[in-house]
């Protein structure tokens, strides 16, 4: 987990926030702001705390953007997941992005060698919060058939936190669909989250 060392409560930042607010109020002084209807409605909704949480969750659940990142065999099934037969777009999963900065879900598809661990950690840390990880396949879950190999990490959960594990070698594309639905339930609060 990327715990940044910057102290947001420090004096310097507090001053910056005040300055920023003062500037905004200054620029809006004497103007009539016409609020956008949608945002006005959203802001009405989010005024009370429980509903606000619901709205945020609703938008998170329905826009999961996975990272386009494949390691080994399971990446072929990941590609199949993105192709014609499964039609994953109907649930809003299929916006595979090339950069971690735009993504919510990281799917670890394949065995994790010791050489790849720092790279995966770096990708994970580049993703914006909230971020979720799916360990796709046996190798990412526990090392799988490479348990006795000298160069394999026995499960990616030794390096980063994992939300959903998918069994299979390799799991079928339908299985990834089920995993993402499970993740949606977890984000929506149906399953006890970590």
């Amino acid at each position: 987990m990327a715990e940044d060392n910057i102290d947001h409560e420090s004096k310097e930042f507090a001053d910056a926030k005040e300055e920023m607010d003062a500037l905004v109020y200054e620029s809006l002084k004497g103007r009539e702001v016409k609020p956008n209807a949608i945002f006005a409605k959203l802001s009405d909704l989010t005024r009370s705390m429980p509903i606000r949480k619901k709205v945020i969750n609703w938008s998170r659940v329905n826009s999961l953007w996975p990272l386009q990142f494949g390691l080994a065999c399971c990446a072929i099934e990941l590609m199949d997941f993105g192709s014609a037969r499964i039609d994953a777009e109907r649930k809003g999963y299929l916006l595979f992005r090339g950069t971690p900065r735009q993504c919510d879900v990281m799917i670890i598809a394949g065995w994790v060698t010791k050489a790849m661990v720092p790279e995966i950690k770096r990708l994970y840390e580049q993703m914006a919060e909230p971020k979720y990880v799916i360990a796709f396949g046996e190798c990412a879950t526990c090392g799988g058939p490479w348990w006795e190999s000298y160069n394999i990490m026995k499960g990616i959960d030794q390096a980063i936190k994992v939300d959903v594990y998918v069994a299979g070698c390799p799991p079928r594309p339908e299985n990834l669909f089920a995993a993402l639905m499970k993740l949606q339930k977890k984000i929506g609060g149906s399953i006890e989250s970590r």
């Binding site: 390691l71 080994a72 014609a84 990708l123 079928r172």
Partner: protein, 364 residues
Amino acid sequence: MPITRINVGPVHPSTHGVIRLVVDLDGDTIENVEPHVGFLHRGVEKLVETRMYMQSTPYMEKLDYVAPMSYNDAYVAAVEAAMGIPVKERAQYIRVILLELQRIASHLLSIGTLCNDIGQMFTAFMWSFKDRDIVLDLLQEATGSRMFYVNMRLGGLHSDLPPDFEEHALNTLDYLEKRVPQYEHYIERNPIFTERMKGIGVVSKELAKNIGITGPALRASGVNYDVRKNSPYYVYDKFHFNPQVLYDGDNFSRYKVKILEIKESIRIARAALKSLPEGDALGMPVKLRSPNPKNRISIVSRELPRGECLMYLVADPQRPYRLSIRSPCFINLAAISHIAKGERFADLFGILGSLDIIMGCIDR
């Protein structure tokens, strides 16, 4: 101009796996490409030494995860050569059918991903994955698994073909035969694709021979070499087919050879299906003790979808003493630092995609 150094990978959407390329650029022109491999190394050759002979077949399949059955077949053939076990005739025919179907599936995937990288032809990607799924359904029917079929046994197969497999397979092959010209029509009339493929990344005949390139990449450079034809195994000498040879050696011929090979594979599979003999196809069941090897050293050569694979097996009783694998992808990758010199940076991924490398096969 000062030389710029750009680092590509190890995680990049277009490299088809975790490979790191260090590219030296003069403006937009590539001066040098240095591939760094080893991000997927897991020591297969060492693991095989700790296992019994038939326990290692799943490891072999994970070497080339786009065409798993081909590697499985190469390893089992090496063990059969060491033990001196003949393959039953019906099993030979069935292996030829399944291997050719696997070759079709593998070439379809490689064409689809190449088109996705070059010119954003996502339609070709969708088409090829749809057709690949149909072929995989057929293989699933025959073996029981979708991607990793551990169905080769010593002297035969794990199970015979299901009763209505022939009919299904012939229907699928008819469908694919109609489908392949549509690919050609769609892909080759796209001006972006042809502009970025023709005349780029030329491998000359001499260079190809010197490096040791094999498979479609070699035949695209005008060398008529195919293990299936030059030293036939199983029943390949009973069928009429021609290795597909083109003479330009550029990206486009490497793509075109794959299209032509799909057509040849359809012909071979159909001929094998029509002349499938009756009889027993079951191989030796996997037991705790395997028969003792007769030959100490055995070398087996097989034509995989990506090139020639050699299995060098030094046999001990019960388990291999040493298994050395000549991976076609590793040697084909060596061409990239020769042919990418002088090309534009944007064309690097066209060259990489047309060489058709699989990182699991390179790193082992």
